[in-house]
């Protein structure tokens, strides 16, 4: 059994731009989010050149650190995305198909899967280890597991960010995803945070389960957005509820995740 505490979280979509707006949507209130994305951590000049993928990641990572009141330079990071930056892949493949020598050097170095943690480290001055991972449809489970194991084995806070972009037209042949989504969880070893939001227990099971469909929220349709499969956990976290979900880890294994909320009684005897 793997047990870690959650010290903070971050969330962004076109319908809710931060945890406050997310809670408002869950409470049935109107939010006036305009889907703007201006992560303060990235200087304005750099922000213009930074891809949307990077801006989403840096925004939710910063939100999670602020909620936990932890110095972003002191946390390791794991970025996860099933499809990676489909906008840059689309740009690269279009340019290569027509005029390969016109490839932009900035777009090329932004095309690495670890671009988000690269920009994050430059913005925060962090030399802590940074990882960038993918497990296709199972990216939430795999990133959660990787981040938790790192937090416990290295005895350090580790920040995970997961996100998917909307699919450009050619990619819609293989994945129909319309609404972008990003979230972050700051995971710490038990005892590290005095006031954790909750704790997670993770257990492996050598069986296959179906990928759960992400819930619809407000008007947002997160169908096929792999990152949004974390929503049931984030909803429970934001509402102070207990939750149990089973997330596929591969065609042959499953991750059972239980969220206990710190505000709730540690054990509930009948």
């Amino acid at each position: 059994m793997t047990e870690v505490d959650i010290a903070g979280f971050g969330i962004w979509s076109a319908s809710f731009a931060d945890p406050g707006e997310f809670r408002a949507v869950l409470a049935g209130r109107e939010v006036e989010s305009e889907g703007t994305l201006k992560p303060e951590l990235i200087p304005a000049r750099e922000r213009r050149r930074a891809p949307a993928m990077v801006k989403m990641a840096v925004e939710v990572m910063d939100q999670a650190c602020k909620m936990a009141d932890l110095d972003p330079a002191a946390v390791a990071s794991v970025f996860g995305s099933g499809m990676g930056d489909m906008q840059i892949t689309d740009y690269m493949c279009r340019t290569l198909a027509t005029s390969p020598r016109a490839v932009s050097p900035t777009k090329f170095h932004n095309s690495v899967h670890n671009a988000s943690t690269g920009y994050w480290s430059i913005a925060t001055g962090s030399h802590c280890p940074a990882n960038a991972v993918s497990a296709y449809a199972n990216t939430v489970a795999a990133t959660l597991l990787e981040t938790s194991v790192q937090a416990l084995e290295e005895d350090t806070p580790v920040l995970m960010a997961i996100e998917e972009l909307a699919a450009p037209q050619p990619f819609k042949s293989v994945i129909e995803v319309d609404a972008p989504f990003a979230a972050a969880l700051l995971l710490v070893p038990p005892g590290h945070s005095v006031t954790p939001l909750g704790s997670l227990s993770l257990a492996l099971r050598p069986e296959f389960v179906d990928e759960p469909a992400p819930p619809a929220l407000d008007d947002a349709d997160f169908s096929n957005n792999f990152a949004a499969t974390i929503l049931p956990l984030l909803i429970a976290l934001a509402e102070g509820q207990r939750a149990s979900v089973s997330l596929p880890l591969s065609r042959r294994s499953t991750l059972d995740v239980t969220l206990e909320h710190a505000a709730a009684p540690a054990t509930a005897h009948a």
């Binding site: 991972v133 990787e146 042949s173």
Partner: protein
């Protein structure tokens, strides 16, 4: 830290499997050739795996067709790797083994091809509608399907440190008790994105690459595939080598230029040595990142000069294989293990006029010498660095 290294194998421009690789290193035969990749008009040298285009996938894996997965399959069939995996599954249980693959390209070569044949409505043509191929986890999916391993599976993609970091994550998974063994791998294949991308940054050499030479003028790009079993000691009979340490760091400086004082490189090396509890004076050999770019070699040599004495032999093997990017970490880890096995340290190829401004001299000729502790460096875009430390099992 001490984890056993079981069976391993590597395929690159210097050969399919370990035997031709050993011969190429001993005889100092480079695998680089003038660029002859179809549809690519760049004047450069490349490290291409011969005959890769004609490798066919088994029927049940046909839906995963891509050059990268052809390379994954070719590599998996060498040096009894599949037999060793089957044996490990018997011994540990197929759900007690994980899969972690490092890649920077994944199957993007296949996506590039799909974009050259888009239908008028911008849909992909039917033969390219492969959901499990046009994503970063494509090699991870392929290896899980090809081996039937039932533990957790992950693809790591941190540019050129990807398949060095697979060893770090594998060590954490095993030390945590999540699994008892991990099949780690690295697979990167030649594609247009990489060749024209590095060309746009003016980092590609029109000639043979010359790591640490004063005339060095850029990198040659290659493709490779490597696998290794990392496991609890009791699972591997007569293991020859141990993974003793890993160090991971970030430059926090620039997306495509290394930190000018090598801060991230120093941190990766010192963190790896600390974890391994090995003193710099006890390191016999370092396989360097040594890409033959102006900046990398100067900065890496400066970092070495601060940590190591002349007792430690160091070299780059990129003039044999080319820079195989996301697969370079494991390819060069395996070249390092082979140096330990053969007591033969490869001297940097094509370094005929070593840059004498450097704070540390790399070796330029092969040296026969026992290697008990060895290290390998991998530094990538995004300032992402990883260093591994290996030791002989009977130390």
């Amino acid at each position: 830290m001490r984890l056993a290294i079981g069976q391993y194998t590597a395929t690159s421009a210097i050969g399919i499997g370990l035997d031709p690789m050993r011969e190429a290193i001993r005889s100092r035969r480079s695998g680089l050739r003038p660029n002859d990749l179809a549809n690519c008009d760049l004047e450069t040298w490349i490290g291409r795996v011969d005959g890769l285009e004609s490798v066919s996938l088994p029927d049940e894996l046909g839906h995963l067709m891509s050059r990268n997965n052809q390379l994954a399959w070719l590599g998996l069939q060498q040096d009894g790797m599949l037999d060793s995996i089957a044996e490990l599954k018997e011994r540990a249980g197929d759900d007690r083994i994980g899969v972690i693959i490092g890649t920077s390209t994944s199957s993007i070569g296949r996506t590039e091809e799909a974009y050259t044949k888009l239908l008028p409505n911008e849909a992909m043509a039917p033969e390219y509608c492969q959901p499990e191929v046009h994503n970063l986890h494509s090699p991870g999916i392929f290896v899980v399907e090809a081996t039937g391993i039932r533990g957790p599976a992950l693809t790591i993609s941190t540019a050129c440190s990807s398949s060095a970091k697979v060893f770090a994550s594998a060590a954490r998974w095993i030390n945590h008790g999540l699994v008892d063994a991990v099949l780690v791998g690295g697979i990167d294949s030649l594609c247009m994105s990489i060749l024209y991308g590095f060309n746009s940054l003016e980092l590609v050499s029109p000639e043979r690459c010359r790591p640490f030479d004063r005339r060095r003028n850029g990198i040659n790009i290659g493709e490779s595939c490597g696998y290794a079993i990392v496991a609890r000691e009791e699972l591997i009979d007569h293991a020859e080598f141990m993974l003793l340490g890993y160090g991971e760091s970030v430059d926090a400086y620039h997306m495509s230029h290394p930190h000018p004082e090598g801060k991230g490189a120093m941190l990766a090396m010192t963190r790896a040595l600390e974890r391994a509890d090995v003193a710099p004076t006890d390191v016999d050999y370092i396989n360097l990142h040594g890409t033959a770019s102006q900046a990398n070699d100067r900065i890496e040599a400066a970092a070495l000069g601060q940590l190591f004495s002349e007792h430690t032999l160091a070299s780059s093997t990129k003039a044999w294989t080319g820079h195989t990017l996301g697969a370079a970490g494991i390819l060069e880890a395996i070249i390092t293990l082979e140096a330990m096995r053969q007591d033969l340290v490869p001297g940097t190829l094509n370094c005929d006029e070593p840059d004498d401004d450097f704070a540390f001299d790399v070796i330029t000729e092969n040296v026969e010498r026992p290697v008990r502790h060895a290290m390998t460096n991998s530094f990538g875009f995004g300032g992402n660095n990883a260093t591994l430390v290996f030791g002989c099992a009977n130390d």
